[in-house]
Amino acid sequence: MRGGCEIRRARPLLGTLVEISAWGSEPAALRRAVDRAFNAIEVLQARLSAHDPASEVSRLNRDGHLGPVRVGRDLRRVLRAAARLSRLSEGAFDVTAAAGGASYRDVRLLPRSRVRYARALRIDLGGIAKGYCVDRAVAQLERCGVAGGLVNAGGDLRAFGARAFALQLRHPGDPRQLVDFGTIRDAALSTSASYATGRERCAGALRDGRSGAPLRPGVSVSVRASRALTADALTKVVAALGPRAAPLLARCRAHAWVMEAPCPAAE
């Protein structure tokens, strides 16, 4: 059902500007719902950031190898999803990628919401938590009775409701250029890329989960899936495996698009 009122807000969160669009029938209720969705992201950010020493993830990183650590519902869900994607991708997706020598197999999910590390290691949920935050924001909006909308956290977005949203992607060789992607409806789209921009030319966030090596710059990978968490994580898998990611994409009912651009400065 389409309502008669729409709002669009943005706040600095998750290291980017998170934008929430929502429509419904009652403006005050919409504003409240959007506020709550932003607040949900703020709470999750405080729990899941590896850069915040007070976060649940940081506590796990400090104590996980000493013995089982009890974790909350959100961290448990993200870790479980990460473990599944690591298994299915044979380690191309790995939240321990930044830690020398450790692998996802060293993160043991135990009964009763406890987690133990088999060795001292650090996880970083950067490749999956943003997607999860987007999913939770959407869930919060739906719980508040919002008819439809879009949560866009930079590279990770999810649309819900009846309407189709037209999307554009940045071109990896030149972020000034926007590429028409077409529309998505009731689905998530994540894009990970190493953009070539000015002095930071070719620096980017995409890394191979197994070697930790940065992937070739000037490449952008977009994945559409039903959930933003899945789409977010799968961009890293596709970036690392290329066409070999096809079976996993099929299994997750996801689709991938890859854009490549020559990046002369790096070659």
């Binding site: 729409e6 807000r9 706040r11 600095p12 879009l150 309407r163 037209a166 926007l178 977009s222 854009m259």
Partner: protein, 173 residues
């Protein structure tokens, strides 16, 4: 699975902008209904600007910050700042609300503009807003572009907030 081989043909869309909130709407979003806002004109002197820069590590670009003091009835309820930060390619106007105790109540982005050099003058992206006033129902997804794969960072806003908190502590408190 579909693979699209590179390179893709790109559309010519040089920059991007979104307007979220007017000053009034930002005030309403960050404070309780019925709050009154009294402008607090301020011109920072050299010594004040320098002190703020020293305390925050951020450059003071504007000597005339936009500030309102919020009142619920006669009781001071806090402060509202409207500030702009400039990144390498982006220009962000945002509102920072502080409670009467100086604690951050909230931050709302008011508008976001992305520019690459001279392209700010090429206002093709602005046409999507033509005839739309703040508060008009935007037809999301049809009228207004949504971009994924954004490069933008909120670091500049975070730094702006640091600067405003230093201003508050040194000048308003």
């Amino acid at each position: 699975m579909r693979w699209i081989a590179a390179p893709l043909i790109v559309v010519s869309a040089p920059a991007y902008a979104v307007q979220y909130l007017s000053v009034q709407q930002a005030q309403a979003a960050l404070f309780a209904p019925g709050t009154r806002f009294a402008p607090r004109p301020l011109e920072l002197g050299d010594a004040q600007a320098q002190a703020i820069e020293q305390a925050s590590g951020q450059r003071v670009r504007s000597r005339r910050p936009e500030i309102w003091q919020a009142f619920e009835g006669e009781r001071p309820a806090g402060w509202l700042f409207v500030d702009q930060v400039i990144g390498k390619h982006e220009f962000i106007t945002y509102a920072l609300a502080l409670g009467a105790d100086g604690a951050v109540r909230g931050i709302e982005v008011m508008d976001y503009r992305e520019t690459y050099g001279g392209e700010i003058r090429n206002a093709s992206w602005r046409r999507q807003f033509a005839g739309k006033r703040q508060g008009d129902a935007l037809k999301l997804g049809r009228d207004i572009r949504n971009i994924t794969g954004a490069t933008l960072s909120c670091r500049n806003v975070t730094n702006g907030v640091k600067r405003l908190l230093a201003l508050y502590a040194l000048v308003l408190k």
